[in-house]
Homo-oligomer: 465 residues x 2
């Protein structure tokens, strides 16, 4: 049989059969249908279950072979031992691709491994590509496709953002992202599950070529065909950043992976070296993953050097920023004389002017004006590559509210990257989200902001011819 | 003159004069009066300004000497060069303590240093204790005292929490805490400013003896009288945890401190060693500071060993937890046979049962029941010292909502510490806050949760006889 490499049957299926559909809320077979309905999946939808006639107002067919239509994608949520039989029916129906949500395969031992091999054999003999088993599924917001076995925010409530795509071995990671930053969105996400057939490489190839995808986030427990992986990644990172979170950095992590997935995580140092070699940026936990995704998707422009100017209302906070600069190989910029002169004009005569720049040495200084002046001077300063602002954004501090100033700058186009950290309340958090979508990224600690700037600078250097 | 060591004149003043009071919103002299009014300061309040008659409905006196009452505390917000004269009038009036908000003193060079010495001399000759200059002020929620020069949430909207007290050289750090965790609250906070008179040691001594203070957060740029500091801290940490954030870990940080405060940060290794010696827990950024404060104030009980059981709905997330355990010298617990047997009863026959414990191997398992059973088994397991739960708390995932189960356990009294991380939305964030106030602490990443458990265990070991 020919083996279609076209992942469009998964990413943009014209028709979907949900095998094991249910009319009982809470059941997986209900959730799958409901996710598709809620997100207004535009293709044709065929729930399959011999025991019910209807779910969510949609006619249910007793078997996939009874459906009077071609089926691109079968989503399968039945007992593991029934899956081989279902796959045979899918073959009869000439189904192009399957997402096998059911668990209880290679991740649970020898009997499960045998079952998974059997399924794969049927798929390969019949040209069916598989995601899973043991997967939550796939998301393609542009296609209104939420082919997922767990409740998810609808495509409508998600921003498509700037083309962030996730390739994971579990849904956890894009979930965490989406719930932290619904407004920054995602374009595509796949949970590869046990990777019996399709793995990171297949989606790397697809997303690498996809004009809509601009940043790729990988979560890795093990990589299949390392040579292909490195060749693909090395090609992609020349135009799109890849950020990888890989567990198994320690023996305990390796054991945990082996026990839940049956796979071997491999030597972590080998991964680390290989990542560096092909320009993959590594994140070590969820905080780093979301910070780095945000930074490489939204921060604009990238810093073209490592010299950071720090604007602050608190000298003590600025010292933390200076510490972080040194920790992450960035430099506290030496301000030019013209910058110092310009800032001196707006502060009291006795004020100290150096970098970090404390604009709140006297409470009588108009903070909005001072920030506008300082940022303009720093944009013009040839000794400064990036600007960090430590500020107060709360409903209680209108005089410090530089949101409008920052938005005006972002609309003009930012000459240099600006990152923000500081104190915020609910209002401030909303302002942060809007700033992020406009190229000014924000971070919950000063150290994380500087670390992310350093990552952005490493990306700049990697791209520099 | 006698030198009252009684900081009660600052923490519980019976009367306050605000020198430089203003009737113009936005002005520092307005903000100070407004903070006191908004927080229902129960003492007597005397705004002072020769040019106005009234502010916020309160009579304004032309001079402190014109006030027909004794004054415990003078809050001073005038031009720096006027401060010596104001201090002389305070001396005439037999004021007991002063908060000098004005900036432009030792932090700005020789002329400022001279001015600060002059003020200190007047204060010492007249038995007036000083906070500042260059300070935002002091908070004592129990006394409804918000003696601050920047807008702050009112005492009413702040929880008094579990007795967290901040001793800082800038307001930034307790601000950040309060805006992140208003519901966890604080009991006292002081911004020491330039520390011309009162410094960390004076408040360490006071808060160390204060029955209301249970946890002390320090922010340090430089310590005065290191010998006294270590003796005080070493005494306090035997009963109350002290967490310190100290900038100046690098040369860049040291330079930043010197330029904004004029002080020398000193050798960081010396600080690090000294902190360890007297049981001070060091935080390296705001994320660590808030995590460690939260953990040592709220997590209950402390872990009596380093063996962690990890409950998860995602094996991949669990591997990150296992990695973090090894990174922070915790152990992935070896579950006892009785625990494995108990959990086997609630999962499908084919499920893998080991630690990390994946309770979501089959979507048909009742997650609430499974969590209740697993936690009960882990409480009884002699091989387990602490429990980490990686979970989903969102309005979309009612079947995963273990909030009620956790709250019921917390009300009974927790046999072992429980920490949480995972995916949450706005509803979940609210649940997290309530759990925290009830002894189950939550963290934005798995790694931060495990790191915080390790800090809690280090505290347990420090306290163990």
């Amino acid at each position: 049989m020919n083996k279609p490499d076209n992942l469009n049957y998964l990413l943009c299926p014209r028709s979907i059969a949900v095998i094991g559909a249910s009319s009982t809320p809470g059941r997986v077979g209900y959730t799958i249908v409901n996710n598709l309905v809620q997100s207004h999946y535009p293709g044709r939808l065929y729930p399959i279950n011999p025991n019910i006639r209807e779910t969510l107002g949609i006619r249910v067919y007793p078997s996939i072979t009874a459906v009077p239509d071609d089926i691109d994608l079968a989503m399968i949520a039945v007992q593991p031992k029934s899956v081989p039989d279902i796959m045979k029916r899918c073959a009869t129906k000439k189904v192009k691709a399957a997402i096998i949500h059911s668990a209880g395969f290679s991740e649970v031992g020898e009997e499960g491994k045998r079952l998974e091999s059997e399924i794969l054999k049927i798929a390969q003999e019949n040209g069916i590509r598989i995601i899973g088993p043991n997967t939550q599924g796939i998301v393609n917001t542009a296609a209104n496709l939420l082919a997922l076995s767990l409740n998810f925010p609808t495509v409508k409530s998600l921003s498509r953002g700037r083309g962030i795509a996730f390739i994971c071995q579990t849904g956890y990671f894009y979930w965490d992202w989406v719930f932290r930053h619904p407004e920054l969105g995602l374009t595509k996400a796949v949970d590869l599950g046990n990777m019996s057939d399709l793995n990171h490489n297949d989606f790397l190839q697809n997303f690498g070529d996809d004009p809509e995808t601009r940043v790729i986030a990988l979560q890795i427990e093990e990589v299949h065909d390392g040579t292909r992986f490195l060749a693909l990644a090395g090609g992609i990172t020349k135009t799109k950043p890849i950020i990888a979170l890989k567990a198994g950095r320690t023996q305990s992590g390796v054991r945990a992976i082996a026990s839940h997935s049956g796979s071997l995580a491999g030597n972590d140092t080998v991964y680390d070296t290989a990542f560096k070699q092909v320009g993959i940026i590594r994140a070590h936990d969820m905080d780093e993953l979301v910070d780095f995704i945000k930074t490489l998707s939204y921060l604009s422009p990238l810093p073209s050097g490592n010299r950071v100017a720090i604007i602050t209302f608190s000298g003590a906070a600025a010292a933390l920023a200076a510490d972080a600069c040194e920790e992450y190989s960035m430099q506290v910029a030496q301000l030019s004389q013209s910058t110092i002169k310009r800032i001196r004009e707006i502060l009291p005569a006795w004020a100290t002017i150096s970098n970090p720049i404390d604009l709140f040495q006297s409470p009588e200084v108009d903070q909005k004006m001072a920030h506008a002046v300082a940022i303009e001077a720093l944009f013009a300063d040839p000794n400064v590559d990036a600007i960090m602002i430590i500020t107060l954004m709360t409903a209680l501090h209108e005089p410090f509210d530089i949101f409008d100033i920052l938005m005006a700058l972002a609309k003009q186009g930012l000459g240099k990257p600006i990152v923000i950290s500081g104190v915020r309340d609910e209002m401030g958090s909303k302002q942060w989200s809007i700033l992020e979508a406009n190229g000014i990224t924000t971070y919950s600690s000063i150290r994380r902001a500087i670390k992310s700037l350093a990552i952005a600078y490493s990306r700049y250097r990697y791209l520099k011819p």
